[in-house]
């Protein structure tokens, strides 16, 4: 039962991204071609509101459902890996038209071919794990 709340939140997120057409390959191309405001509006408004929400959490010291202060971890300050990894991710994002969330949500939408994309992404994750110590970070 303790996982039910995550399941429900996931269902909500899957509905939101589907209805926002964020999982569409076409929309991702349109974004990289700078032909439409749609995706920039989605990401931009999410981040703009997100900045306000996180500032409020920090300043008001809001508590989580467990009664503890909400802890928001900082990202590791690795410049090289953020940039190179980001570029590699971006190359793939435009090919598949789907970042990890949409890969799963597309499968839910009946696009079962994205199971192949998911397996490839798992292989990519696994390959990174093996090569990690030899890559610049």
């Amino acid at each position: 039962m303790k996982f039910l709340k995550f399941l429900i939140t996931g269902v909500f997120f899957g509905i939101v991204l589907t209805k926002g057409q964020v999982i569409s390959w076409y929309r991702i191309q349109e974004m990289f071609l700078f032909d439409s405001f749609h995706m920039y509006g989605v990401i931009g408004s999410a981040v703009a509101l997100g900045i306000i929400v996180i500032q409020l959490i920090k300043r008001r010291e809001l508590k989580s459902i467990n009664g503890e202060k909400i802890n928001i971890p900082d990202k590791d300050n690795k410049i090289i890996s953020s940039l190179i990894g980001g570029i590699i991710f971006g190359l793939g994002w435009s090919f598949t038209g789907a970042c990890p969330g949409p890969i799963f949500i597309l499968i839910g939408n009946g696009m079962y071919i994205f199971i192949v994309v998911l397996i490839s992404a798992l292989v990519g994750t696994f390959t990174y794990g093996i090569l990690k110590s030899r890559l610049p970070h």
Partner: protein, 186 residues
């Protein structure tokens, strides 16, 4: 009800994504989807091969439950919360796609010319699905996050590495869209 069945505008979708991020923080977790791929590798026994996967994956099961929910959410949205509206793309994108021999979108979310079982073992299928998926998985872990972890959670928390990663996402995406796709499809 019609407004729920029609595609939702950006100013509804963006804030609802923020809401999901907030809910996850309120639950004492983070909104970071690509981490689930690492967890799946760890469950599959990858920890025996690489230390990167040697951790207590049981503490990450909540993320897999969330992922399971997103799949169900996609199913619900497509089967019960959709009308017949097509994706309305900008004219300019439609013209670019035509140059790549990709027809205008109908009800499908992705071009079935490329994303289908029939094309899986063609050169395009291998590049778009197998190589593309590999790069997404590899790049997300190398960068330390994907669109949810870096672009939404990280930028909202004013993280410099996230800003660099998002710049990288766009450099990579634009290389594919402006140089590789015209070369492969054109």
């Amino acid at each position: 009800m019609d407004q729920i069945l029609a595609p939702w505008p950006w100013f509804v979708v963006g804030p609802l994504i923020t809401l999901v991020m907030f809910i996850m923080l309120y639950f004492g977790r983070t909104f970071a989807i690509s981490s689930s791929l690492r967890t799946v590798c760890a469950i599959g026994g990858a920890g025996k091969i690489a230390g990167f996967f040697k951790y207590d994956w049981r503490s990450q099961i909540w993320n897999l439950v969330f992922i399971g929910g997103t799949i169900i959410g996609g199913f619900i949205a497509s089967n019960y919360l959709s009308d017949d509206s097509h994706i309305i793309l900008s004219r300019s994108t439609i013209e670019t796609l035509a140059d790549w021999s990709i027809s205008e979108p109908t009800k499908a979310l992705v071009p079935t010319e490329i994303f289908s079982w029939d094309s899986l073992f063609t050169l395009n299928g291998i590049i778009f699905m197998i190589l593309g998926g590999f790069l997404v998985g590899f790049g997300a872990r190398y960068a330390g996050g994907c669109t949810s972890g870096h672009a939404i959670s990280g930028l909202s928390n004013l993280q410099v590495p996230s800003l660099i990663a998002v710049v990288g996402f766009f450099i990579g995406g634009m290389i594919t869209t402006y140089f590789l796709l015209p070369f492969i499809l054109g």
